[in-house]
Symmetry: C2
Amino acid sequence: MITRDMKITIAGLGLLGGSYAQGLSEAGYQVYGIDRDPDAVAYALEKGWIKAGSTDPEIVRDSDIVISALYPQTFIQWVRDCQHLFASGCILTDVTGVKRNVIREINAVLRPDVEYIAAHPMAGREFKGIRYADSSLFRQANYIIVPTPQNTAKAIDTARNLAEILQFRYIGELSPEDHDRMIGFLSQLTHVIAVALMNVTENPDLVKYTGDSFRDLTRIANINADLWPELFLQNKDYLLKEIDLFVSEMNEFRAMLAEDNTEGMKEKMIISAQRRKAFDK
Amino acid sequence: MITRDMKITIAGLGLLGGSYAQGLSEAGYQVYGIDRDPDAVAYALEKGWIKAGSTDPEIVRDSDIVISALYPQTFIQWVRDCQHLFASGCILTDVTGVKRNVIREINAVLRPDVEYIAAHPMAGREFKGIRYADSSLFRQANYIIVPTPQNTAKAIDTARNLAEILQFRYIGELSPEDHDRMIGFLSQLTHVIAVALMNVTENPDLVKYTGDSFRDLTRIANINADLWPELFLQNKDYLLKEIDLFVSEMNEFRAMLAEDNTEGMKEKMIISAQRRKAFDK
């Protein structure tokens, strides 16, 4: 149970870290912040989202809860470099969008008296940086706790409690494998599709004819090019498989079209329409 | 110039035909309707969208303007069967989503004293039928006039005037080839992608984890399975080409991922983000 006398420190005051700081501080919790960019720290202070902040990791000392909102590789490196500052018995959690690799790497280096509970807030925007932080994002979003058999009930409860305070719409639990498989399909494959669709042709005239369908399919094409290649590589095996399944489905449809197979295409569309309706309930 | 003493007859009172009837009648024009379904006619009458309506094509007699809101093959067949009822000198237009084939087939059979001007209102919904008709759809939509060198200025102006009365956001002109190429990419390819994405896996659990990105990419997956195979087949050459270009772009990205080519993926994402930003202006 997270209480209001606990010290919570967030490492990485970007879009997600900033939104966490906002949500937690507005709910009355004591939040501290670390970022290598002094402007991000100053912005969080000015907004009243953190009690104190610094570019110096020393500020993490005595924290009950440490939340990494860093990119995956930066997170792993930061734990290596700074975990000597962690309080014994503290809980470490994160916001990383892929899990198997991060969990393995963190647990391989983490001090035995600190417990890491992996979590993934499935929220984001097409912009990066604390200036776009907005904790109301979470009210429409899912929060997935990704425990391993080694995690204690206390750590899992802490992650759940964090998500409750931040008012996530749905809080679930998945194994690292199930999480990464799901993300490979629902999030990563869709981003690859949007990026491919924007790369396939350069035709500025298209803008004026673009209807809702193309606009919908490419909204996520405005992607953070610094973060996503890293997320893809961390989930390479599953993402390659999802791309292959999708491409072979595209080619199956292509063959039906080439063969004037109206009934085949119709059947695919009926399945598609039925499945999609479940999402609107 | 369309005037309020003209007789305008709409053949096919579905989602689009119904929305045309609503928009034109509310703007004070005299609209008549034909549909093989007496319920659709009754609904249009009850709403006050048509002055008179029938399942009998006889009602098209003496029309100054005839608008087909039928599916492509039905449109062609209807012109064959009913054009003896058309008034000499009347203008025929339509709402068909693909153009080269329809224009060729209509012009091959049409009486020489009637002029067909092809048009494509780029508006739609995930529902079909007159009960979902709503002429306010057009205010966010594009209207493309698709003239051939044989069309007169009068017919082109009539189509443009129709779009103005219906308050389309943008009214443009494209050749049949340019229209079909554009539609093959912006609309048809995106629908094939959405359908493929829904067909690739059957996992009802996905619904609870689905975020905005998957929801956006599959909104159009709730597709009209009676209409779209026909539209695809009418534009088969271009659509096959667009599928191939897109699939090869997917495979190019896949190869970068397989080879840990971070810089290559990043480059694709930068292009993608830049191009997508042009859509938000």
